[in-house]
């Protein structure tokens, strides 16, 4: 069977599974549509939340980010998992006790202000829509590369599948599909990693192999890798090079942002009890950790494999020849990926060899001059292809490649569905039912939820096909907004009775505006190129990059809310009672029906 048929088989079988689940889990009420009837077991919910959370960025991009930077990008590993500690301790159980359907609804009720609710809805919509564009692009790339069809048709097929289970099944359909998607994506991620870890270290557990011995040389793997990359003028893999303060702030921003992303928080509304919400956050992290503990091993091992392929005789010997790349079947993956435009090389000095090294490094100048090199000849290596190309680089069997294709699609689709659900509940429940037509019946609200979901899918496809040039930067925006506006408002709503309506709105706006302005100052106003006044290499405040500003925005939000609240009227008694009741699990069943 050829590779194309294998890919088609794996992707087709996984899609058939999702559709089957959609038919089985059809939502009949708003409670099922928004919160899966609050009947989801904490382990099941944990698995679904893990799939919801792990997007194309976790599956496709993260290992590449670590591979080409090394230790400094550990922020992604700690940040994207540490947020679950905040979620489990500070938000999930209380929001489950509150017992409503959306994040904005809690903010609106707790701060007795429809303005607060609307600010939350706007943050939620901006964060979710920017996030969904990235998922749709991921779907397009995966289809284009593995099924060799146009991104347009790929996106359309993907959208139809999401439509089938998200529009009809709501949260119920999405939850059970996400369980299946988690199984597909984690198998697809770990199987190639296990193979590669066995090849390189003889250890079947990649997370242990990372700290094991390199089978070829007997040296520890990381030491071997450090030696290879420093020989070529790159930064030592395991060493710290960036600014320590910025690294800490960036990690903190990712943690707070994770805990404030509405499509993740709303998953904890689906479990039956408050204590289940606590357990469920733990199970979510177990399922996320399976991938996140593997990712740094995938990154380091891929970097080692690629470097050794480019220097088959060692870094002091001769580089790989153009002829070998063209003829040796082990190098076939390079030609395949060259076609996508994400990988390229050029024999600049015409010596028939491709020298891969860091031409910006001072130490390499001497060797380059002596050997007649005219710059790095592996001219383009997009870090996003690392995970997808990994099985081919390591020469694994064809079915593994088909599995990785299905896994990448599962990661993108499961996150897209979760985001679309957050968007549609904000529109139908917060905007329509909450503001414009409060007397809407349940069946018309359900219809409105389905129509707004369908509309959101159409918008996502259009934006996915014509992604705004700034799509990559907007992910920073989504995290910044969640960190600076949503997380502090939720936390203060639970932990302080003193914060009143005026304080909360002032805090949210202050956090939101300072974060937006700081990102725009560095990335360009509304992301228009060349309108930026600062760069992330030379930022406005000390060493704080725009991607790390979310934590500062959150601090501004906390401070502003506290100051304004202490100068304005005290919170009314019934709100204090509400906060008290949210703090104790007793009577959680009572709050469900409303």
């Amino acid at each position: 069977m050829d590779q194309f048929t294998l890919n088609l088989l794996f992707v087709g079988a996984s899609f058939a599974l999702y559709i089957g689940i959609a038919i089985w889990a059809r939502a009949g009420s708003t409670s099922e549509f928004y919160a899966a009837g609050r009947g989801v077991h904490p382990v099941t919910n944990g698995m679904a939340t893990a799939a919801d959370w792990m997007s194309a960025a976790s599956f496709i991009s993260m290992a590449g980010l670590i591979a080409f930077t090394g230790y400094d990008n550990s922020s992604f590993l700690m940040g994207w998992t540490g947020g679950y500690v905040l979620l489990a301790l500070l938000l999930a159980p209380y929001l489950r006790k509150f017992g409503k359907f959306t994040v904005s609804e809690f903010i609106g009720d707790r701060f007795y202000s429809s303005t607060a609710r609307m600010v939350a809805v706007i943050c939620l919509l901006v964060a979710s829509i920017t996030y969904v564009i990235g998922q749709m692009q991921g779907v397009g790339i995966a289809f284009g590369r593995f099924l060799e069809i146009d991104a347009f048709w790929g996106l359309l097929i993907g959208a139809c599948v999401v439509f089938a289970y998200a529009v009809f099944g709501g949260m119920k359909g999405v939850t059970y599909t996400q369980v299946a998607q988690y199984c597909v994506l984690i198998t697809a991620y770990t199987i190639p990693a296990i193979f590669i870890s066995l090849q390189l270290t003889g250890n079947p557990v990649p997370a242990l192999g990372l700290f094991g011995e390199h089978a070829g040389s007997g040296e520890p793997l990381l030491q071997k890798l450090d030696g290879l990359v420093t020989d070529l003028g790159f930064n030592e893999y395991t060493a710290h090079h960036g600014d320590t303060f910025n690294m800490m702030l960036f990690t903190l921003s990712l943690m707070i942002g994770t805990a404030g992303l509405p499509h993740v928080i709303m998953r904890f509304f689906t479990v039956p009890r408050v204590s289940d919400a606590r357990w469920s956050a733990g199970w979510t992290l177990v399922f996320i950790a399976l991938l996140y503990l593997t990712a740094p091993a995938v990154g380091a091992m891929a970097r080692l494999n690629i470097t050794e392929m480019m220097w088959p005789d060692g870094t002091q010997g001769e580089a790989v020849s153009v002829q070998t790349i063209a003829e040796d079947p082990n190098y076939d993956w390079m030609a395949t990926w060259q076609k996508t435009g994400l990988l390229d090389w050029e024999d600049k000095n015409g010596d028939g060899k491709i020298q891969y090294y860091n031409d910006a490094s001072e130490e390499m100048q001497e060797r380059a001059e002596a050997a007649g090199w005219e710059g790095n000849e592996l001219t383009n290596f997009n870090r996003d292809i690392l995970v997808l190309a990994n099985p081919e680089i390591a020469n694994l069997p064809g079915w593994v490649i088909g599995l990785v294709a299905a896994g990448g699609l599962a990661a993108a689709l499961s996150t897209a569905a979760g985001l679309l659900l957050a968007i549609s509940s904000a529109v139908s429940h917060d905007l329509l039912k909450g503001q414009l037509t409060p007397n809407m019946s349940e069946s018309s609200e359900l219809l409105a939820a389905r129509i707004s979901m369908a509309a959101a899918i159409v918008v996502a496809v259009i934006l996915g096909l014509n992604p705004p040039g700034f799509a990559a930067q907007t992910v920073a925006l989504a995290f910044g907004l969640a960190a600076a506006s949503i997380f502090p408002a939720l936390m203060m709503g639970i932990f302080s009775k003193r914060i009143n309506n005026t304080g909360a709105v002032a805090g949210m706006l202050a956090g939101l505006i300072t974060t937006l302005v700081y990102i725009f100052l560095h990335k360009g106003w509304f992301f228009i190129p060349d309108t930026n006044m600062f760069t992330d290499d030379n930022p406005l405040l000390g060493t704080i990059k725009s991607t790390s500003f979310g934590a500062v925005g959150a601090a501004i939000n906390f401070g502003m809310a506290y100051i304004v609240s202490s100068m304005t009227k005290e919170t009314p008694q019934e709100i204090k009672d509400l906060v008290e009741s949210v703090r104790t699990p007793r009577g959680a069943g009572m709050a469900v029906d409303h």
């Binding site: 998992t81 990381l222 320590t244 007793r586």
Partner: protein
């Protein structure tokens, strides 16, 4: 214990004790959370560089693997301990 169906909640001494027990547990958990990630993983890494682990040092291990494992322990410990505290203070669910 108060009536389960009583929606209006008045603050009792028991509730205050329950909430401060919860706050103490949260603060303890967050201190460990910060220590393993921001501490061992980043800020204190130079101090731990003497402890070697498979080709690198303890700080590198905490940044790439250790902190995630500790986060897991924190969440499960918190869930287990809070369920105990709920029962001790009589505020558990039915």
């Amino acid at each position: 214990m108060t009536d389960q169906t009583d929606r209006v909640h008045s603050v009792t001494k028991e509730d205050t004790a329950y909430w401060s027990a919860n706050l103490r547990l949260i603060i303890l958990s967050l201190v460990i959370w910060a220590l393993v990630s921001f501490g061992f993983g980043i800020l204190l890494r130079p101090m731990l560089s003497g402890i070697e682990i498979g080709g690198s040092d303890l700080g590198f291990w905490f940044a790439q693997q250790g902190s995630i494992l500790v986060f897991l322990v924190i969440i499960f410990f918190y869930a287990w301990r809070m369920n105990q505290i709920d029962r001790q203070h009589g505020v558990e669910e039915d």
